[in-house]
């Protein structure tokens, strides 16, 4: 099922990685922060909305020293000035290469939507066949803002020419983590 997920997500221009455990996922995220040139300047910052997958592995102080523009406080202003946003997702859907998230917490939406590069982590074990399999598992009274993301933001509104990155991210990096929660 993961091969299908990867094929479908890559077909819509997502960058897909799969790692055995959280530590490798962390290395990948840091590599993206390096690659994107995150720095303490408007438009070059990064926001990290912590979650259960990597939360226990984060040494916030060390990370903030290594990436001066990185913040774990996700505010509207901070997200709007960021080049990279990092969030964790609750499910993935193989048939369409989609990741899905209970985004009731507005910080998840801000960090996923406003930066140009969005890094999204999910646990491989939460991979479902498709949206039809997800719908019976969510309770909208709890998940008040359910967000499904399939590739980066796109448009074909001018002459039907596909153009990536309109209002949301231009790049979507998806990292599937195999290991136990917080495991090294």
């Amino acid at each position: 099922m993961f091969d299908l997920f990867r094929a479908k997500a890559e077909a819509v221009s997502a960058e897909v990685h799969r790692v055995p455990a959280g530590t490798q996922a962390l290395d990948l995220v840091l590599a993206v922060l390096d690659r994107e040139g995150v720095a303490d300047a408007p438009g070059a910052r990064a926001v990290w909305c912590e979650g259960p997958i990597l939360g226990a592995l984060l040494d916030r102080g060390a990370l903030a020293r290594r990436f001066p523009g990185l913040s774990f406080e996700v505010t509207r202003e901070r997200a709007a000035e960021s080049r990279v946003g990092i969030t964790e997702f609750d499910w993935a859907l193989a048939a369409t290469g989609t990741i899905a998230q209970d985004a009731t917490d507005p910080r998840l939406r801000l960090a996923s939507m406003l930066p140009e590069t969005h890094v999204a982590l999910f646990r491989t074990s939460t991979l479902l066949p498709d949206l039809d399999a997800l719908l019976p598992r969510v309770d909208p009274r709890k998940a008040r803002y359910l967000a499904c993301v399939t590739g980066p933001s796109r448009t074909a509104d001018i002459e039907r020419v596909l153009t990536i990155g309109v209002h949301g991210p231009r790049k979507l990096v998806v990292i599937a983590v195999d290991g136990e929660i917080g495991a090294a």
């Binding site: 479908k8 939507m113 406003l114 949206l131 909208p140 359910l146 967000a147 933001s153 153009t163 990155g165």
Partner: protein
């Protein structure tokens, strides 16, 4: 808006070269990407699911609206239900005043287009920014969307660059990534500055009070998150019963709309989710009825409420492809737009727009909820005729074709006077007011001896093994009697006796498609009387339009006219009706007819007539017959796209019919064959006439004529 105005708008659209180019390229790319997106999906099973889900919801709108209101209110939303567009405006105007709203960011909402909300808000001094790229482009251009999914499909990148240049007061290049980047920059400011966000919804779930919004750009996510107040304006037809009902809708909508498996973003919100930085958030949901409940109660039009606004109907429409959505459609574009406009505006407002439908039926097989748009358009025409009467010329023309003696007499007289205009069996120019009929194609000459007279000379088999009654139809009878003779020869060869009921008359298609159901019903009754012969096994016609009339439309027309007794007789007749190729194929399969393949035949191409392909589902039989006769088939591109004939449509809108025909001729030419086979004499008239006028030697032939040369009898066993 009267007819001259429509003609002018049609002519302007046709003169706009970039429009046809853009729409033509789009149409071709769409067909391929849709097919790819549906690979591996059982489309018919998905349609079954969707018809059930949306049909159930449409029959319970009131209950579902109540349930939705309760659930969304319990989740903290404020729900305002109204049937009146003015009330929506009042509600929003008051809300903006109360909350001090100056700036609104809006994601796509067709319901707000329907009620012309932006104009109202701007009159209140509120700045409204459309944030969907296409919507923003048409907003800046002061236009309305020309397509439900791609609002600016009618504009070129050069035109968009011009529109953006005026907005930012800077000369911009016609470079699409650059233009998109500019939109991102400009609109990001507007998202962040907005006090209030307006979204629509693609689905509203009654059991949970959830709204589902799909976008590719991500603008609805920003509109529903950044401003402190969110308003969703939702038509009640978006309601479904359960959350799981969202599944089949989202399996179909992106595939049918843009050829995607899923849009980049699907957002489902239930009540107001917490706002950014802990700010309180308000969610107002406006459930708009605007005659939808009334529509749900109309048995002929309730199906339109199943529409999920994917626009696949317009994407495959040959008329939309030429005219675009500013001419063909209202707020909602294309044929479905013409229908919705009747409810949202008034019956008369759709009068001219609906007349643009050529009735080719290209839209019916692609609709994910099986809406029959052509059928609803005919029903609209019926009601217009009931309400306003028939136009004088139409009435006169129908009277002529329905008085068989008069019509036949006229045609025979015409066949005498046409001689000076006839060349190799074709009429190239007609004098005076008839010249329009030969402007884009030649017409076949009227036969010296009509089929009905030729038929009398044909000797029938002495010991027949079955009996078929032949329905000729006007074109076979008077223009192409050879087709009728070929049909008789094939059936006789199979040992079948053919009879020609003399009392047969017009099939009623011209009257029905013009909305004159009383005339069509009389035609149906006359023909039922003529063909009600228990000794007949089949009623066969070599004209698919006539076959559809006999097989499907007699009963429907009679039921519409309240003639249930006659309709039952029509049903009995319908069971015996076959198009020529389907019957011939049945006989071959049953071993009653043998086709001998000839060697060294030239390859041919085949044109699918609209009625045969989409109403009679006979795509395969003619191909099988041609193959059996020894012809190599070289398929043309879009073999089942309309040739532009559409019966009297080609006389009413020759300027639309001509470019549709041109495209068909180009596709025929590209195959490089010398013969184009088909099953419809109407298509032969159109395509043959087009080829003749272009001075081309390519021949049009009816499958019956080609088969008649290759059939041999089978001696009945035992």
């Amino acid at each position: 808006m009267g007819a001259p105005d429509l003609k002018q708008r049609v002519s302007d659209a046709l003169d706009n070269g970039s429009l046809a180019g853009a729409l033509g390229r789009f149409n071709e790319a769409y067909v391929a990407s849709r097919a790819k997106a549906y690979a591996g999906i059982d489309f018919e099973a998905l349609r079954d699911e969707l018809v059930a889900v949306k049909g159930r919801a449409a029959s319970r709108l009131e209950e579902l609206a109540t349930q939705f209101t309760e659930q969304a209110t319990a989740a903290g939303a404020k729900v305002f239900r109204t049937s009146d567009p003015q009330e929506v405006k009042r509600y929003l105007g008051d809300l903006c005043r109360d909350r001090g709203v100056r700036r609104i960011a809006k994601s796509k909402s067709m319901a707000t287009e329907e009620i012309h909300l932006n104009a109202f808000l701007e009159k209140q001094g509120i700045h409204v920014a459309e944030t969907d790229l296409g919507e923003w482009i048409v907003q800046l251009a002061g236009q309305r969307p020309s397509h439900m999914v791609m609002p600016a499909i009618h504009l070129s990148k050069e035109q968009v660059a011009g529109i953006f240049s005026r907005e930012v007061k800077e000369e911009l290049a016609a470079d699409i990534p650059g233009l998109v980047a500019l939109a991102r920059r400009e609109l990001r400011e507007k998202f962040l500055a907005a006090d209030l966000g307006i979204t629509g919804a693609n689905v509203a779930v009654a059991e949970t009070g959830t709204l589902v919004v799909v976008t590719n750009e991500g603008n609805a996510r920003l509109v529903s998150t950044l401003p402190r107040i969110q308003v969703a304006v939702v038509g009640v037809e978006k309601l479904v019963e359960r959350l799981v009902d969202v599944g089949p809708i989202l399996r179909a909508l992106p595939r049918s709309a843009t050829g995607q498996l899923l849009t980049s973003y699907v957002s489902m919100f239930t009540g107001p989710a917490p706002g950014a930085d802990g700010a309180p958030k308000e969610l107002h949901i406006i459930l708009l009825d605007n005659k939808r409940t009334e529509m749900a109660k109309d048995p002929r039009f309730a199906q339109a409420l199943r529409c999920i606004r994917c626009a696949s109907c317009v994407n495959v429409c040959p008329v939309y492809r030429l005219l675009g959505g500013h001419v063909f459609g209202g707020v909602y574009t294309g044929g479905i737009g013409a229908i919705l406009a009747v409810w949202f505006d008034a019956l008369k407002s759709s009068n001219d727009v609906q007349s643009l439908c050529i009735q080719c039926g290209s839209c019916t097989p692609v609709c994910p909820t099986r809406i029959d748009i052509p059928e609803m358009i005919v029903e609209l025409r019926r009601r217009l005729v009931k309400e306003e009467g028939q136009p004088f010329m139409q009435k006169a023309a129908l009277r002529m074709v329905n008085d068989r003696r008069l019509f036949h007499g006229l045609l025979r007289a015409a066949s005498k006077v046409q001689k000076p205009f006839t060349k190799k069996g074709m009429i190239r120019h007609l004098p005076f007011f008839l010249s329009g009929m030969t402007e884009h194609r030649s017409l076949p000459a009227i036969a010296d001896v009509p089929f009905r007279d030729r038929f009398l000379q044909i000797e029938q088999p002495a010991a027949p093994t079955g009996k078929a009654a032949l329905y000729a139809g006007c074109l076979v009878d008077f223009a192409y009697p050879g087709i009728g003779e070929a049909v008789v020869k094939v059936l006789n060869t199979a040992g079948i006796e053919v009879v020609f009921p003399e009392a047969q008359t017009c099939c009623g298609a011209p009257a029905r498609y013009a909305g004159a159901f009383d005339v069509a019903a009389r035609n149906a009754m006359d023909n039922i009387r003529a063909f009600e012969d228990p000794s007949v096994n089949w009623v066969v016609s070599a004209c698919p339009t006539c076959t559809v009339a006999l097989r499907h439309e007699f009963a429907a027309t009679l039921r519409s006219e309240g003639q249930e007794d006659w309709a039952v007789r029509a049903d009995a007749l319908a069971a015996k009706v076959r198009d020529f190729s389907s019957l011939a194929k049945e006989l071959v399969d049953a071993g009653r007819l043998t086709v001998e393949a000839a060697k060294g035949l030239e390859p041919v191409t085949y044109h699918d007539s609209c009625h045969l392909k989409r109403r009679l589902n006979a795509h395969e039989p003619p191909r099988a017959l041609l193959g059996a006769a020894g012809h190599e088939l070289r398929e043309m591109k879009d073999s089942d796209t309309c040739c532009g004939m559409g019966g009297s449509y080609s006389l009413k809108f020759p300027e639309i019919s001509a470019p549709i025909l041109r495209r068909k001729l180009e596709n025929i030419r590209a195959t490089g064959v010398g013969t184009v086979a088909m099953d419809c004499p109407g298509c032969m008239l159109q395509i043959g006439g087009g080829l003749d006028l272009a001075g081309e030697s390519t021949r049009t032939r009816h499958v019956a004529e080609m088969l008649a040369e290759r059939v041999v009898g089978v001696t009945p066993a035992g």
